[in-house]
């Protein structure tokens, strides 16, 4: 294809996106579009899979049968999200094994928030309420993103995430309205998860490298700072409702902006965790790589069995 022809295709492609048409796997697309989508979708899939670990950590210790069942179902949903996001990646010509390899080698990123430990039961509430809350704010706009398989996956993911978020808030509410010891657990969890949740919405606009192109492709519809403001404005009244205090002395309602002003985020901590030096980065990777390596003989056996079965069928067919 000549350079001019490619240029033409690109113009048509951008026009389709501008008209809000969906791009489907078999459609022509610029290489950069394909790569950017693999990067973002796989990062999202990895986050779901690694995100199973901090919550899975409390399954055996959930305080009641009802909570245990809900937590199991939630972590199972996350595995399901991972599964269809990996499948969406596969429509762009990359295999799940390749993506795992990128995760395990440290080449691919996942949401940094999962590198924090879940040390008390209240963390199950805080993670659902704040982490899933921030995730929804990030993800709802993606239900209208330009790449069809991603947009459709996100519709389902968002529905389930908002259920999880309500469930997390309900855990926090129960604690906050419970015995003094329970309220302490809730406040302590909020103290530890608040700032990492704000960081989860990404670096400030000035430092965000992918934003402009992503906006054009509808992979991103609002800037990180706008999303963060939206999250804060939405969450502060919820904390007030259940009598918990946001751990930010500078937090103040700004009448003029009709929004909350808030304190300085510790970006050094953010970059430390992103670069692999958070409290749980090594443990999370060890758990993922460990599960993968220990499972190799099982996957090999399943493959060998399927081949034998196929061979037997073929033999019978002759």
């Amino acid at each position: 294809m000549s350079e001019e022809q490619i240029k033409n295709l690109e113009v048509q492609f951008e026009a389709r996106i501008a008209r809000d048409e969906k791009i489907e796997p078999k459609d022509w697309m610029p290489e950069k579009y394909r790569k950017t989508h693999i990067r973002q979708m796989s990062q999202h899939a990895h986050s779901e899979i690694v995100g199973m670990l901090p919550e899975g950590n409390w399954i055996t210790r959930a305080p009641s049968l009802r909570r245990k069942v809900a937590l199991l179902a939630k972590v199972q949903d996350e595995a399901g999200h991972g599964l269809y996001l990996y499948s969406a990646c596969e429509t762009l010509g990359v295999s799940r094994d390749e993506l795992y390899e990128q995760l395990h080698s440290g080449k691919a990123k996942y949401s940094s928030i999962f590198n924090y430990p879940t040390i008390t039961w209240a963390d199950m509430g805080a993670v659902g309420w704040l982490v899933d809350g921030a995730a929804i704010i990030n993800q709802v706009p993606l239900c209208n993103t330009s790449y069809g398989p991603y947009a459709r996956a996100m519709v389902r993911v968002c529905k389930e995430e908002s259920f999880h978020q309500r469930q997390g808030f309900e855990i926090m509410m129960k604690l906050a309205n419970g015995a003094p010891e329970q309220k302490e657990l809730a406040q302590d969890a909020l103290n530890r998860w608040w700032w990492p949740s704000l960081m989860m919405l990404g670096p400030t606009d000035a430092e965000s490298i992918h934003t402009e192109q992503s906006m054009k492709w509808k992979l991103k519809r609002k800037s990180n700072d706008d999303l963060r403001q939206q999250f804060i404005d939405q969450t502060v009244p919820q904390a007030e409702l259940i009598g918990l205090t946001i751990p930010d002395p500078d937090l103040k309602w700004n009448e003029e902006r009709q929004s909350y002003d808030f304190g300085e985020i510790n970006w050094d901590e953010f970059w430390q965790v992103v670069k692999g030096h958070g409290p749980m980065n090594k443990e999370r990777m060890k758990a993922r790589v460990g599960a993968w390596e220990e499972g190799e003989w099982v996957r090999d056996a399943a493959m060998a069995y399927a081949e034998k079965k196929q061979a037997r069928k073929q033999k019978q067919a002759i």
Binding site: A79, W121, L175, E294, D300, K308
Partner: protein, 250 residues
Amino acid sequence: MKQNLYNYILGIADNSLILGQRLGELTGHGPSLETDIACTNISLDLFGQVRSYFQYAAKIAGDDRTEDDIAMLRKEREYKSVLLVEQPNTNFAYTMARQFLFDVYHLAFLAELQKSTDLTLSAIANKCIKEVSYHERFSSDWIKRLGDGTEESKAKMQEAMDGLWTYTDELFHQTEADKAMVVEGIGVDVTKLKDAYYTRVSAVLEESTLETPESKWFQKGGKEGIHTEHLGYLLAELQYMQRAYPNMEW
């Protein structure tokens, strides 16, 4: 309170409780995303069953105890589960062998419990049997895959089967509560399930190119609350929150 009925229900439910707890340990650590989802799903089914049984048991007890009190606030000698279900997740072969050896029993048991003259128990059995027939299909498929997969998987699966075989016979022992409930037409006569059980298990093992273990030395005691050393640690996790923060709602 109908003590025999109460004990009988706990005997059934404790198997699901302890096995569900064991499977819950694996969530997020499975050999593939698909098996992870399936094992979590089985755990979820089992805990759902536990809730139905314990809610019914709490009603029979007639005091203010709840399903969580029954699940999480008994002492180690008061759990009536069979030794098989508390065995650890040594590796995926052990996990699947344990599952299969229990599922074959569980399925046959529920088919009989559906005929119970106790309408609540027969209704629970009727709901559970759909889930358990899926469990049995899943675990028997894995016995075949691992048994007839690679040399390594075959050796691992044979080792797991040999290791767990000693816990199978207990499934068919009757407690006093069992006997009383059989007489009343409420309970299942588990002694009658034994032959069909070993026939089914052997058939799957044969199809999986595995040897049916020949050992006739069996362990028992779980149904009377005499467990292996594994159970204490499992209960320590299961009960942690209820013990550390007593009398609170979650």
